[in-house]
């Protein structure tokens, strides 16, 4: 019997159809994963169940919870349900917790409000919940403020809060995407264990298919407000019926194989017959082997940030060499210093110690312009790295103007159009502004800007991390094509081990500002030496 049944749910905003009539069930004591890329409507589905849609949304269809239609329930009824029988865990634990109240007070609030607990009883119950959520020393954590806890601990507090009133349905909206892989693994295990022990149902919303496979019994795949496929985990993952599901499964780089190109969604949707050819290309890309000149060398690079009396050693001495046309992957969790190291190499931050050698010459002696031209950066967030007041044409022409490439406006515009063609955008984009593009397109523009100077080294700082899997695949393919064409070297910084595995020839692992392991990509993934590298690899959901 199903606890929650959604039937023909449609949600329209002003001029956008967010959900185009979807139907699925959440059986009792079962975890259902709702998988989709951004804009698929998965979060809108969760919000409609809780009755939290913005007032301009028009809703049709039925959401039956224990045979009661939630869409017709009075606001008071819904409020009583929310937090008591249905509760939710959000993506960002930091912004979901109120920073000015202790976490104990915030969890206690749910108990006092829904269950009418008194102060002391709520406190005792809180300690028990914290213990269940796996927080160490729960009694002392009760009086801690959110900023005193780590991201993982905050998410545990959110989980404790969600469990406070013993819900029958737990909705988890991307509960681990803001967390590091090792923490993600712990939280996932916790959620799965709690679901079994408490015999709850769970709706697990994620963009990550591997995660869905790890926690769920049933999977619903969504795209653009429609359900593409639903079924048991075994069926969807072993024998996907829908082309889109197959494409999603194939376009994510895997740890155990390295195809020359990643298949993209369009391959599958356009020509379903040839689907699955991504598996055939297991051959390693014929990378250049040995004998190349060293483009860049770092010797003992270190960076210490000081604020008042506090000192943070972000990078504690990193050394590496990078040859022409090769890719060095830089892996680490948040706070490991990998982004800072990238900025030090590009001289966007002054280093506290150590040196960077550009083709054997100390970077500090190389004129600023020559250096900037040789090393370009693609940043993580395509929404922040383009100046919103510049048209794409101005953005692309700027580096040429500064470095005196191309004579006159006309020639620079022609070159800019050529660059756009290289990254797969039409020349009409020149006159548009960044806000008119999607995340993937913006990242293409950022890559085109870097290419304008024909750099010898491109630093990609989490360049694809903010993008959907299918867009990620397209950009990774593009980056590889460009590398072959321009013989560029890449310093590829990412927290995503699978993506690094796909891109890099050599891999460097960082932890707390230190390089803990360096090695050839093949060898490092096959036989990790350092315990931290092993922990990282073990944490990836298979």
């Amino acid at each position: 019997m199903s606890l929650l049944a959604i039937d023909g749910l449609r949600v329209d905003f002003a001029d956008v159809q967010a959900l185009k009539g979807i139907s699925f069930d959440i059986p009792e004591h079962t975890t259902v994963a709702l998988v989709g890329e951004s804009g698929s409507g998965k979060s809108v589905t969760a919000l409609s169940i809780l009755g939290l849609l913005p007032p301009n949304a028009r809703v049709a269809g039925e959401i039956l919870y224990q045979r009661r239609n939630l869409l017709k329930a009075a606001p008071r009824e819904l409020r009583a349900l929310r937090g008591a029988s249905i509760s939710m865990i959000f993506q960002e634990p930091m912004s979901s917790l109120n920073p000015v109240f202790s976490v104990g007070f915030q969890v206690g609030e749910a108990l006092r409000m829904h269950l009418g607990f008194s102060g002391r009883k709520a406190r005792e119950r809180c300690i028990a919940l914290f213990e269940e959520a796996g927080l160490s020393d729960p009694a002392s954590k009760l009086d801690a403020y959110p900023f005193q806890l780590s991201g993982g601990e905050q998410q545990r507090v959110m989980i404790a809060m969600a469990l406070a009133c013993e819900p029958q349905l737990l909705i988890a909206d991307e509960p681990t995407s803001a967390l590091d892989v090792t923490v993600q693994k712990q939280i996932l295990e916790l959620i799965a264990a709690l679901q079994r022990r408490r015999r709850m149902s769970m709706l697990f919303i994620t963009h990550d298919l591997a995660l869905a496979r790890a926690v769920a019994e049933r999977v619903v795949v969504m795209r653009r407000g429609e359900i593409r496929e639903q079924g048991s985990v075994a069926q969807v993952f072993e024998a996907p019926r829908d082309a889109y599901t197959r494409a999603l499964l194939a376009c994510r780089p895997a740890l155990d194989r390295r195809p020359a190109r990643l298949p993209v969604i369009e391959d599958f949707l356009r020509n379903e017959a040839s689907a699955g050819r991504g598996d055939a290309g297991t051959a390693v890309r014929p990378g250049k082997q040995g004998g190349e000149s060293i483009i860049l060398e770092a010797r003992g690079l270190a960076k210490t940030f000081r604020s008042g009396r506090r000192e943070v050693r972000a990078v504690k001495g990193a050394s590496f060499r990078l040859a022409r046309g090769r890719t060095l992957g830089l892996v680490g969790e948040s706070g490991s210093g990998k982004t800072t190291l990238g900025l030090l190499v590009a001289r966007l931050h002054p280093a506290s110690a150590g040196s960077v050698l550009l083709k054997g010459e100390d970077a500090l002696r190389v004129p600023r312009k020559v250096f900037k031209r040789a090393i370009q950066v693609v940043f993580q967030n395509p929404y922040a790295s383009l100046n919103p007041r510049f048209s794409v044409g101005e953005t692309l022409a700027e580096p040429m103007r500064i470095h005196g490439i191309g004579a006159g406006k006309g020639e620079r515009r022609e070159r800019a159009a050529g660059l756009l063609a290289k990254v797969g955008l039409p020349a009409a984009a020149l006159f548009k502004y960044p806000h008119e593009f999607s995340g993937g397109q913006r990242q293409r523009i950022a890559i085109a800007r870097a290419l304008a100077l024909e750099p010898e080294l491109l630093i990609c700082d989490e360049a694809v991390s903010a993008l959907d899997v299918s867009v990620q695949a397209q950009l990774l393919n593009l980056l590889r094509d460009l590398q072959d064409e321009y013989a560029m070297s890449y310093l590829f910084i990412s927290h995503d081990l699978a993506v690094v595995r796909y891109m890099a020839d050599e891999v460097m692992v960082m932890k707390d500002g230190e390089v803990v392991e360096t090695g050839g990509a093949e060898a490092l993934y096959a036989d990790p030496r350092h315990p931290y590298t092993r922990a990282l690899l073990a944490a990836i959901p298979k």
């Binding site: 900037k372 031209r373 940043f379 790295s385 100046n387 700027e398 500064i402 806000h435």
Partner: protein, 332 residues
């Protein structure tokens, strides 16, 4: 489509804002016409009798005067048969005076009345509007320029430069406003429009500085600025070509706010006697004449100046609000 165009479209959807902009534009057009000498050029001409009443009141006032004239004894009084020894001279003086008045032909009423010297109040209000708007806009531009440059430098470079400007800011804001204004007025010495602009501009930059500094602090670490650094853009280029367009909406709104503020400040300064000179007219100097007039029941000059100022300031404020909503929709 650029963000400016989008903001302009948002602004056009705001009816109050568009109406306010129309009023502001009318004031600016009138001030420009007066500056060009097309209207109110002869504002200082003494065209009416002293305190000539507005035309719509004229009938009533004339009636009153007729009554009082009738009540008063007329003609030469009979002084017990003694002839007035000065009668001939007085008659001559009377004749000469009325002849002179006839030659000058002063109006007994004007559209909205006259001041003590018989100058047209409407023309004074128009000319005064030119002065007040010019002072407001010029002083606000000066303040915005100082505030933006100082704020950009302090926020972008940080370090000792930031410390220095913050110290300067603290000094300026620690002194009571009027005391500071009067001190600078005393130092600058002579009166005049330029002096008023300098006074207001040099004291009014602090608020703008604080906001712009905060914006630069926020923007200098943004990725697009880092990306500009990566392609080799110089500090000046990052400060003014990259960050400034992204914070210019703050400057624009502040500029507009300060125009309103400085129009009012000019009035206060002129009222206190530190404003524009006696050969110039502004809304403030018109108000300064009001106290002595009100005793005599002459209210039209203060009414004209107040009406014009209230309309301009209100329209400008509403326009500023709409501008802010259009430029920064998140504030909503």
């Amino acid at each position: 489509m650029s963000l400016w165009l989008l903001a302009w479209r948002r602004f056009l959807r705001d009816r109050v804002g568009v109406a306010a902009l129309a009023v502001v534009a009318a004031f600016v057009a009138l001030a420009a016409a007066s500056a060009a000498g097309w209207v109110a050029r002869d504002w200082s001409g003494e065209v009416g009798v002293s305190y000539a009443p507005p035309r719509f009141l004229a009938a009533k006032i004339n009636e009153q005067e007729d009554k009082s004239a009738a009540a008063a004894p007329s003609g030469a009084r009979d002084d017990y048969g003694i002839p007035d020894p000065l009668a001939a001279e007085l008659a001559e003086i009377h004749a000469r005076l009325s002849g002179a008045a006839a030659a000058e032909s002063r109006e007994t009423t004007l559209v909205f009345g006259a001041d003590k010297w018989g100058r047209d109040v409407v023309k004074k209000a128009i000319k005064g509007g030119e002065t007040s708007l010019a002072v407001g806009v010029a002083a606000a531009t000066l303040a915005a320029l100082i505030g933006t440059l100082a704020g950009a430098a302090a926020g972008y470079y940080g370090g000792w430069l930031d410390d220095f400007f913050n110290w300067l800011y603290s000094v300026f804001t620690s002194i009571p406003y009027l005391l500071l204004v009067l001190a600078i007025a005393a130092v600058l010495g002579h009166k005049g429009i330029a002096t008023v602009i300098l006074i207001l501009g040099l004291t009014g930059w602090t608020g703008i500085f604080r906001l712009i500094r905060a914006e630069y602090l926020k923007h200098r670490v943004r990725e697009y600025v880092l990306a500009a650094d990566a392609v080799g853009a110089s500090d000046a280029r990052r400060m003014f070509a990259h960050i400034l367009p992204n914070v210019s909406h703050v400057v624009l709104v502040q500029l507009s706010l300060h125009v309103v503020l400085f129009i009012k400040s000019e009035v206060i300064l002129s009222f206190l006697g530190f404003g524009v000179g006696v050969d110039t007219v502004s809304w403030g100097s018109m108000l300064a004449e009001a106290p002595s007039e009100l005793i005599l029941g002459v209210w039209w000059q203060i009414a004209a100046a107040t009406l014009a100022m209230a309309l301009a300031v209100t329209a400008f404020s509403l326009f500023t609000d709409s501008l802010r909503d259009a430029l920064d929709p998140r504030l909503g």
